[in-house]
Symmetry: C2
Subunit: 404 residues, 2 copies
């Protein structure tokens, strides 16, 4: 059965106080839901998204004529849907777009009510904690007092962890995938280079590029290329691209067929500093180009900063166990062996801190070659671990959850 998704919008007139001290006067959240909320409203699962994703978590969109929109699957469609690990025949799943995004919820490309112009760089800095507060208000509107589970990968995992601290009584289970209790200096460093590439692009205009009719595409391309390198493992890049040359594949084949050795030698390297020589270069340029066409530069700055700032242990002198003491949820944590951006060591830190608090913790360390990206991919052991947790743990405590 194909899951059909429909984007919804909830407007909030009540101002949202932010961690920075600023206040967002009014705002909208885009969201989607899949499956049905049961009678006692106990089977809701909230999905939190990472850097460049959105509320469109699962299913596909239809065109106005009812035909499926091609390539419109949600970003976690392999995980969430009818009969999938997070089974929408059983759970009521909510995807919500975060504040500051460029995919629907209030963000820098929207109008600042105070000026009548686009917010641009004036959109207030938002944090993981702010996002969770905004998500909680959406649940209030939906009449959901307590979530069966919150779940997210990477930055989404940080929101999941923060849910258990900000609203311990509203979360029964927390599924934290490929995440960390804060960023390392190296993580912050990669974010900072990406931000500098954007901010120093002459088309950025201090973040008010919309007023100037420009888009800092050069910076966005560089930011995306850096991101892609750090999402993949060295191994998978070698498997996928290695030192394979990009150009003239047909010419090379032709020369090989003709056993034309001098031609082969000539075709091998082009000796260019500005052109494309290796497949990996072509791939990265393509990813950068695509990204620069649809992603908002100010959103990129805001979301990477939310990553940088997240650090629940900070208010406790760096003691993560003390920071996690308020959590009451049961936890499943998942990490991937080749993820060097959010390494298994970071997940183990959270496991240890939770165990110190005698919390109920399951932990799966998946031996996967794909680096950080693994959390979005089709890995049978990973999907089985999440399925088992939802079947036997989340489902068991989701009183009255519908069974398919």
């Amino acid at each position: 059965m194909t899951l059909i998704a429909t984007a919804l919008t909830q407007h909030f007139e009540q101002a949202l106080p932010l961690q920075s001290g600023s206040v967002l006067p009014s705002y909208s959240l885009s969201y989607e839901t899949y499956g049905s909320l049961n009678a006692d409203r106990s089977n809701a699962v909230l999905i939190c998204h990472a850097l460049n994703a959105s509320h469109h978590v699962a299913g596909i969109y239809l065109n106005q004529d009812g035909t499926p929109q091609p390539r419109s699957e949600g970003w976690w469609d392999n995980m969430i849907g009818p009969g999938k690990p997070v089974d929408t025949d059983r759970f009521f799943v909510i995807g919500v777009n975060n504040l500051g995004s460029c995919f629907g919820s209030s963000g820098p490309t929207h109008t600042n009510p105070a000026t009548g112009e686009a917010w641009g760089a004036d959109f207030p800095v938002v944090t993981v904690e702010d996002w969770v507060n905004a998500q909680a208000r959406l649940l209030d509107v939906l009449g959901i007092r307590q979530l069966a589970a919150v779940m997210g990968g990477s930055l989404g995992g940080m929101q999941t962890l923060s849910w258990t601290l900000q609203f311990p009584d509203r979360v029964r289970h927390a599924v934290v995938v490929a995440s960390a209790p804060n960023l390392t200096a190296e993580n912050i460093a990669f974010n900072e280079v990406a931000r500098r590439a954007i901010v120093t692009d002459p088309d950025f205009h201090g973040g008010h590029y919309l007023r100037h009719g420009t888009v800092p595409k050069r910076g966005l391309r560089i930011a995306r290329m850096i991101g892609h390198i750090t999402y993949l493992s060295d191994d998978v890049m070698n498997d996928k691209f290695g030192r394979q040359l990009r150009p003239l594949v047909n010419d090379v084949k032709q020369a090989a067929r003709a056993d034309d050795q001098p031609a082969l030698a000539r075709l091998a390297y082009q000796y260019t500093t500005q052109g494309v020589e290796f497949e990996i270069e072509s791939y990265l340029r393509h990813q950068g180009d695509k990204f620069s066409e649809y992603f908002d530069a100010n959103t990129y700055l805001l979301i990477t900063r939310a990553l940088d700032y997240f650090d629940p242990a900070r208010a406790h002198g760096g003691d993560l166990a003390r920071a996690l003491a308020p959590a009451k949820a049961s936890f499943l944590l998942v990490s991937f062996t080749t993820d060097w951006r959010f390494s298994p060591a970071r997940s183990r830190e959270m496991v240890r801190a939770l165990l110190k608090n005698r919390r109920d913790v399951s932990y799966a360390e998946i031996d996967a070659p794909h680096g950080h990206d693994a959390f979005l991919l089709e890995d049978p052991r990973y999907l089985s671990a999440v399925r088992a947790y939802f079947d036997h743990r989340v489902g068991a405590t989701s009183a009255g959850g519908q069974t398919s």
Copy 2:
């Protein structure tokens, strides 16, 4: 005893054929020498440099009035000098600047004799093999038929390896530090992002920025920031910077003394997407700014491309053992455990390939926290390993080498 260095220049009128098929019509090499060549010219050690270094390997420069120039130590001054691991009381050490550099040898900022203008982007693409050929001609001029040793780290290690293949009879010992037999896809990817940042800087003008009176500083800054992140280990970045905040250290101290909790909370995060928040950001920006003041953008492109292209196994269907068969030298290889840019695994590949050829190989894997940068730093075990090799192996076969 302080070693005094003097930069020398050797001009070559004889054209240099390059691997790309281009020819460099005439060229100059900047170089320095330390110590004395012995009577039978058997104690010469050639040092090959990496990305942003030069012929100024050891010693200090004097001002015209004979006073020492402050902070003018050569880039490997902890390794090379009187009584140091590569002892200039015993060996005649040569540092040479590579073609395409911006530190003296012919490069993109020099005049193209064919046009009378700066070469800029028209300077031909040079490879590790081309550099070695040029270095060999310098040795011819200096009257050195055979080197006691060639030594280099990183890209310098690639030149060292290439020496043993291009001129097997001219090298008795090869010391290859923190290097690799080729770049991985991830290495190439980081180089490519840095190049794209430079090439897409509007001040780059297709590489002819000198004619336009501009310098692509934005791109150079980004390139350098990326480089710095990859030269350091995650651990050392956490030790050195961690999540430490940059701004207002004195304000924070004052608030702490006054036990002004609200002020402390306020001072902690500034909530800025464009400003500096963490120490690591400040460090990277500073490194980027410094680099953009002195380094030539076309040189950056050329040198990173030389790294990308180096791959002696390529002509042998990827079989490194076959590629290294011509080598006759004895080898010392050194790697550092936390170097993720040129990891120990890459050095072990070379060790295995050399052993397959029954070459004489010593290998030291140094447990050092500093990442790739370790090869330039003061690590007692590292320096001892090199000292022992030069004392007992290079010195032993350097017939007639002077002893101090």
